[in-house]
Symmetry: C2
Subunit: 316 residues, 2 copies
């Protein structure tokens, strides 16, 4: 989307979380292709100060009023806002090509809706925007001509597999699920699991909320609902397959019964880079070795031990 | 390519071989979407007579003069030609949307060149056309505006993965190879292999020439050269990975280091159907079960035991 030589102007909402930090890493590796025009965090003022000192964005903000009150702005080029009202004001002044919404939970919806029509693209790591308000969000995106590109390894994979396909060519979406830390655990063990056990994800490093949601497969259920809205598929045309190695990030079934799959490293930098650079697709450091494809596994999810997934299909 | 209700007119060169018979099966399953305007075989007059009786094509022919001499035409609507000269004359009268070139070996080149500009699309199962004359064939295709769609599971997979990609987005092609019947055999055993052993392919049912070429990996070498011309990639941007299960039909590496793969059943009906129906992609009977993805393997080819593959890279 940024064919000129000027860097892509990125507003990063949720800059101190897992996706935020990965985005800063992608920017560092992108050879000046990205400039941050806003860095916005929840309550981690200390880390935000470091980020602002390094990137000197025109705008910064903290959602949390208390954290914002004590915040000392390290950069005199940066205008600082506090709380929801302050951020609403910031949004009116913001100039950005892409807004990354990496706010955790349903609180992210407000930012998604406020950004519509104010930026060309929303790179959406906040799946709750679509889970709680999929229809109005998609309608607003269409009305305002705002692109929505997912930052979720599964939906990014689906987006990549869908690209260039004709309407009707894709008959079904198949989300892969690692199965989380309790994939092979008994119902009893799952019931008595500790917080630390639930946070011990086998393949992905993510924030705590999504990691716990992954342990119960609730996250996969939310992803089913997210995929419905994002790609316009009904829930009966979306499948989930457990794939413990998380190498195949998701697949689409085509009308002739064959599949297209997107695969590679388990690193959120990939979907972030894709969401920023689409359709250009920037180079990435490192290389995926095809030997990693050996011995992959795929199995049906167990809806008895993981009732949240069944629940999501019923709610969809 | 055939948006109207009239059936796709297909000229089938090599109708009694493995690809030819699979094409007839695809036609039988395609609910009247295909009509054969020519059925052309090498020397199997008995089978050609059965096919002509069933499909009543406007044209039929046998390449082999001796077989043609004794042939009794079972259909008075069918005009019969014999030998290379006869088939050259037939080509001038032929009306077809797609010509399937499933002639075995380098003899297929003449048909490929003769079809240029006479049909909208050549569905190319004869990889030797590109191996022996890749540059002139691609030049003629461009000059005459003739589409070339491969009927080769690997190249069909690559075509499907490349579809909708921007120039430069795909950085490398990766052809999968089953490894053939001698994948784990010692050099000594390969040297002393019988014809029957070489014809015992573990995953694909194909004609004898390509099956023996698969046993030596010569076929994969030819495919590397075929891919070079078809997709405009140099040999150093084409890799080969041994994948004994033949479920992943091939992959492309993208600029950001991730991969797109096309996968599904090991049935030549798939690439045939794709080559005929592209870009529409017709439904197929049956369904691929994702459980088949479990326990796939990928390994580097052994160029010492399979020197033909190294030879092809040197020749490319």
């Amino acid at each position: 989307m940024n064919q000129s030589n000027s860097p892509l102007r990125v507003a990063l909402f949720g800059s101190t979380g897992s996706i935020g930090e990965s985005t800063l890493r992608v920017a560092a590796e992108s050879e000046g292709r990205i400039t941050f025009t806003a860095l916005i965090a929840g309550r981690n003022g200390d880390r935000l100060a470091e980020q602002v000192a390094e990137h000197e964005p025109p705008f910064a903000a903290l959602f949390d009023e208390r954290a914002a009150k004590d915040w000392r702005n390290p950069c005199d080029k940066t205008k600082f806002y506090r709380g929801a009202a302050g951020i609403a004001a910031l949004m009116k002044e913001l100039e950005a090509d892409v807004l990354i919404n990496a706010i955790v939970g349903a609180a992210g919806l407000e930012t998604t809706l406020a950004a519509m029509g104010r930026v060309k693209r929303i790179a959406l790591a906040n799946k709750e925007s679509l889970v709680v308000a999929g229809e109005p969000v998609m309608r607003e995106a269409a009305r305002t001509g705002t692109e929505l590109i997912p930052i979720d390894s599964e939906h990014s994979a689906l987006h990549q597999c869908m690209e260039g396909r004709l309407p009707g060519e894709v008959s079904r979406l198949v989300l892969t699920a690692s199965g989380g830390p309790f994939r092979e655990a008994t119902m009893h063990r799952i019931r008595n699991a500790t917080r630390a056990e639930a946070l011990n994800h086998p393949t992905w490093e993510m924030g705590p909320k999504i990691t716990v949601d992954s342990a119960t497969l609730m996250n996969k259920g939310l992803e089913v609902i997210e995929a419905m809205h994002l790609f316009g598929f009904s829930a009966d045309k979306i499948g989930v397959v457990v794939h413990p190695e998380s190498i195949v990030h998701s697949m689409v079934e085509l009308r002739d019964g064959s599949y297209l799959a997107q695969l590679g490293e388990t690193d959120m930098a990939h979907p972030i880079r894709y969401a920023l650079s689409y359709p250009e697709r920037w180079e990435a450091p490192g290389r995926f070795e095809l030997a990693a494809l050996s011995g992959l596994h795929f199995e049906e999810p167990d809806l008895e031990r993981f009732p949240c997934l069944a629940l999501a299909f019923r709610a969809a």
